[in-house]
Symmetry: C2
Subunit: 192 residues, 2 copies
Amino acid sequence: MTKVRDEVLAANEDYAGSFGDKAGLPMPPARRFAILTCMDARLDPAKFAGLAEGDAHVIRNAGGRASDDAIRSLVISHKLLGTKEWFVVHHTDCGMETFTDEIMRGLLRQSLDTAEIGPDGWKGVGQGPGSTAGDHIDWLTISDQAESVTADVKRIRAHPLVPQDVPVYGYIYDVRSGRLIEVPEATEAGKA
Amino acid sequence: MTKVRDEVLAANEDYAGSFGDKAGLPMPPARRFAILTCMDARLDPAKFAGLAEGDAHVIRNAGGRASDDAIRSLVISHKLLGTKEWFVVHHTDCGMETFTDEIMRGLLRQSLDTAEIGPDGWKGVGQGPGSTAGDHIDWLTISDQAESVTADVKRIRAHPLVPQDVPVYGYIYDVRSGRLIEVPEATEAGKA
């Protein structure tokens, strides 16, 4: 057991110990909405959006991007489990703004070890072996948050499996204030 | 503004109002681990695993599956942001166990409206138009949780961009008790 595993299991023991009436929650989200956001450690969607267990679907990946897999999840969320409104939330100071596909591919070709970031950007460290398997991956990097949110809302809106009557809202979460800031052009593009 | 948007923004206002020293959190996860789990509304990874803001990456999709997009996120998590241990957490009573690709494709061909589930399984409701765009999507359904967790840990372990020194653990979260139950064959397959 690593320290992290011990800690996670001890925290879980505490949580399960006072689980109470959450045992009876049904599968479909009670408040009928879904949030797509970034995996970033600073973001806690349950806290920043006020979710209790059972309320809403939460989909997270690097960047909070509308990848094919995020759209797979959103379609299941609506078609089978009845969500009726979707939020796309990107955030300030996102790691996805610090690199490009070219940079990531170069770093991975050199080594799989964790790279370091300095004033001049990412610097490869570590010994090989690296891999060229990153060369064919679209890393879904971000150069401007309002643009990325708007592009993702538009991609969701235009998808053939997304019904027209599900509104999609676009927000940026500010990691310095905890505040959700609407991106009006995204929400406009995502209107039902 | 819908009721849901009003409620989310009001909850966010409260959260931001007492944000305190979270404003100074750095981008890399302080506790250097990541959790891949399901979007299910009943799961709150921060609560069931004891995470504070800034602690760990959380990746979520329908099923908690090791999709290409989840692996994209995990590789970024390690290569750029330094996580060193990964948890894959599927759960009991998962929606992904209630259908097959064939069922989902049939439902979507009929209509994009939310379907209903009854004693005989899913039943299409609603008027068209439906879409054949679901025919080419692998919906990543689940027939047995221990098998799906183990398969996903193995897929991650075998990926050319995943370093051998990152252990991958497999768990099932029990939605009736809040408890994480280890899947030993998954954790064994994911050993560093």
